[in-house]
Symmetry: C5
Subunit: 307 residues, 5 copies
């Protein structure tokens, strides 16, 4: 185990050895193993957006085995998906890549101004499928946020009791938040803080903009001259907001976009002290050779092989 990984594990001393062992599995797997950086492959778009919108651009992705194979061949640190997708391959690919069971999900057939997610999996499912962590989404700002925090608390307590790590997707949404506010720097930092306070081992937030949503926060940003003008500044501020670097924070890749944009974000994440990326649609919505090449570039940025 590398010194950096040991250092990161030292942030989780209050946790049982089993949990730290699972965090170590995540940090020591794949191409970036040992660097303290992570690139995770998440595939919940089938549930979130429907199968055609998710997989028609690259039809092999309809098959659940494809994503296991992609994650393994690309050398990702882990593969995260809902119950069905993991069940459909956990036996065949057992032990080849760390798995994260995404425990709640929402679909886009039903919509509510204040979004919520259904709990679709359980800690027991994660155990029987051999996962090293469970994932859970919260929507700070939504009228359902407190309910989601409470569900998370119960799930996290149960996960901890059996040695599973807890990954929290913290996506501000709903209530009085503006569209811009969902990725505003103050809101993104707040989202990271909430996830950390709720006991997340790993926190996933979106790459923030320099928009400031909340008037009370704006005063402080101005008074204290908090640097947020460059992407690297903003990443650093998010990491600071997640216990000053003592919690693993990773950033989502968002919708399929230009590769250069993703590479630039990866550089900002790397330079700002972020721990890595979780990249779904940009990975599995292109052919496998292209995806492998794309992910290799991202990982080389994180490892420093590319500046």
């Amino acid at each position: 185990m590398t010194k950096r990984v040991q250092e990161i594990l030292s942030y989780y001393q209050s946790d049982a050895p089993g949990i730290r062992a699972n965090l170590a599995r995540l940090l020591m797997s794949g191409r970036l193993g040992g660097t303290g950086r992570l690139v995770i492959l998440p595939v919940d778009q089938g549930f979130e957006h429907g199968p055609a919108r998710s997989f028609a651009p690259n039809p092999p992705g309809y098959n659940p085995h494809y994503h296991f194979q992609l994650g393994i061949e690309a050398g990702c640190n882990a593969y995260a998906a809902p119950l069905g997708f993991l069940e459909a391959g956990a036996a065949e690919f057992a032990g080849q890549i760390p798995l994260i069971l995404k425990l709640n999900n929402s679909d886009s057939l039903y919509g509510d101004d204040d979004p919520n997610q259904a709990v679709t999996g359980s800690v027991d499912d994660a155990l029987r499928l051999g996962c090293c962590a469970v994932g859970y989404t919260i929507y700070p700002g939504s009228a359902y946020s407190q309910e989601m925090y409470e569900n998370l608390r119960e799930i996290a307590l149960e996960a901890r009791s059996v040695g599973l790590a807890v990954v929290v997707w913290s996506y501000p949404r709903g209530g009085t938040l503006s569209k811009a506010g969902q990725t505003g720097i103050d809101v993104a930092c707040y989202a990271a803080q909430i996830a950390a306070q709720l006991g997340a081992h790993i926190i996933k937030v979106k790459v923030p903009t320099d928009h400031i949503e909340q008037a009370e926060a704006k005063k402080v940003y101005e008074a204290e001259k908090i640097p947020i003008s460059t992407p690297t500044d903003r990443i650093r501020h998010v990491v600071q907001s997640a216990f000053d670097g003592r919690r693993i924070v990773i950033f989502s890749g968002g919708a399929k976009g230009e590769d250069q944009k993703i590479f630039d974000e990866a550089r900002a994440i790397r330079d700002g002290g972020g721990f890595g990326s979780i990249i779904g649609r940009n990975s599995f919505q292109r052919s496998k050779p292209e995806a492998l090449k794309f992910l290799e570039t991202v990982m080389k940025i994180y490892s420093g092989e590319i500046a």
Copy 2:
């Protein structure tokens, strides 16, 4: 056991042997046993529409024994019904046909724009009645959909823990869905995907039309030129949407209609890679001799005895 059944069972390797044994019972029973195709007899109309609307056209159907006998004589793979109907014959016909206990139901005395179902049976009931599977309906699109997914998760976890297979009726309904949208191809595929992601072993959806409901989906269907013009195309796309054929997908027969329409649908299901049909009203709302003849024809289409 045939090679095709072995192949299908191999899709469920993450599941315990007891569950695969029950799937095998379903796949090896009746006239279609071993072909990898299923025709299931479901009788929940008494609950859903009331007794007269369900059974007056063929009054022997008031008697719960009738449906066991019909299923057995026709060589169906299984008989699915709510608690009361199964209780009223499970002892007399024990071991003669695989049983599926439908665990939730709704009646038409009360209506809500956003439909829901009451949980009317339990896994314990299924065990004491000797069932090989439980059935559960979800309504993607309804305001109650997340609640239904969560109930399903709990029931499915419990069913799995005792070796019962989980059959999910996935019927989009409610919310902003148009009437046409409920059977639109994008929505039907989405419904199949959701059921699969929720961990269903067997998925029941309606035969889809070529209507596309969601604007975001429409863009993808056009951009990717997904073939949906013929019934066979659409069945193939639904099966693809259910983990690329790695989950058993069957199709409901709908209201009583012309036989030729049902036979044509069966051909499309067969040729599109679907796993079979679940046919209620078209079976029990005619005299037994007629029903047996009708079902024989359907099964011969699936077995290939009829082109």
Copy 3:
């Protein structure tokens, strides 16, 4: 045990011996014991309508012992009441008459357009009081109907697990149902079917009229020419709707009315294949001698001693 009782018990073969033993206790007790007919004394009016409206017409009824004595002396098959009334006499009259604990109740101090009932007793209470069955009311048609079905499911499962029979009061009410519709023949039959599908051992419905409430049902009644013109026809149709006579269906006596009307209804119930009556206010709201004479006449109609 008579052949008729053995035949009735044979309808419940899927149930454990303890439940069948309790059904036998009900069917073999009292003046009608062995005939396959039942007359049950229910006294929940104190809760439903208040004490004065219930007992002032015959003040000994304020005393809980009175109803035990009335049921015993009249030779009723069972006495059904809420927790308090049973507790207040179960020890004194232990073993002298089968008891049914009514597990949910509502009062008329609070009203809601969509009615519901509170669960006021438990299976554990029924056991400690030596009951042979529990009773539960559902209101098909009410916005609370699904919740009531779910509560019933849990209670019925628990009752079954300890050998208690389940009696369901199925009273359509609320939602879009018209007043006439509550006792319409289509609705009454639907109510009986729902209770049967929910797993009731004994079903209590109201004596139906020839009104047809639901348009969809009306079409079928007309197309299939279902006979509903005489009271006997309607009773026969209700019994048919409860699994073609394979579930015990009894009919409630309703508000205090003219004796002749009750006697005529009993004849229709008898001739239409109904299993008996549950008669409250017509029994306990008159002096005991009068009540005994009245009940004797009803029972003689059921036994055939009176034509």
Copy 4:
């Protein structure tokens, strides 16, 4: 034990010996011990109305020990209070006076037209504090009434299982009830009946007026000429409504008023067959010497030492 107490205990034969032993403790304690009459000291006003409104008129009442001492010195049968007040003296005064833990409470900082109470204590609390009974308020007529009945059912079942008696405060309130209706004779009797049917061992209602609230009830009161013109008549009718005297019914003293009014009410309770009083504010909102004298007079009325 006196014959009267033995007679009262005989009303509770269906209950376990432990419960009857606790009822005996209540009936055999204090100055009225053995008479079959009770005077109970309740102090929940701190929670219900706030500390200043409750205790400023007699500041020693801020101290929880004061009420234990008052109850003991006055020879009350029991002291009833919420969790905090009992915890703050249960150890110091262990065994000196029977205790009743009031399990639900409401405050006047928040108001709802349909009132409810929060469950603030548990049966386990009552056991560890050495109580002989638990107390629970229901609000018949409120939109929350069914919820309250269901909570009571669960609590009562648990209390019974460990031998604790159940005291129910039955206060009609909310919904369509008029202010006058809350203490109307028909409503008070109905409140007593509901509590009795819910399984209360001891029922607390307010002293009723001759107002009749419900039209349906009014018809019966007039038709049956139920005597309700004098306070004694009304008490007798309430006692009759609580299982004809077979359940202990006590009456609340209400707000601080003129002593003579309380004494007259006590005479009516005594002469009408009531079992006693529960007197809070009239006891602890005056100096201790005055309170002792006041309570002594009340008790002498009950014992018959004063006519």
Copy 5:
């Protein structure tokens, strides 16, 4: 142990030895150990207001270790924080300062006129982190108040069963309360009383003003001439309202203000019989040397070293 601490512990005689031992740990730790006074460091602002608003004024506060160090170096009696912050240092600083796990929290991304908090931690978490107490906020006056009381009851019962002390933040808010009313003397006293009745071992309220919110209370304050004109009077009245000094009542420091104001409040708390302060933002939103000096002054006021 000092006599004063022994005296305070004697107020909790109904509690198990383990709880009293934990109260003793709180009272005997830090610079004020043994005086019967407490100064507690709470840091939940990261959750309540977001990270920048909380920690940007003194950036080392982003790091969870900072607050442990601050509490230890300042000689606080305890450090209170949500799950995440305690987890991030409980191992490193084990045994160096008593910990209080704050079990519920709310954020300011979502707002409701009637506020509520999410339960974000559990008694099991408190145990594994080595805490001596749990903290819980209630909002008397809010539409959610009864729900919060019920959650508190369950948590407090569980905490008690494992020997943890219960600290209740009682903050009137919501419903019909005016802004001024939230800190009105009548409301503050009522808030203290409610917390005490709910079984709190330690009660935290805000320093009250002389505003009287409730009309019914105003009458009593005037009739009984309750002294509330000086800060010391008001503190004394709050302490009286919390069982006449038999429950530990501490006061929150509120938003960052002028030091002199805090010192004056500490004097009033000391002289009015209050047990101490809980000071967050005034402690951690300045540099550590300044904070240490500031807290030293506050503690010297409590110890009497400064008049």
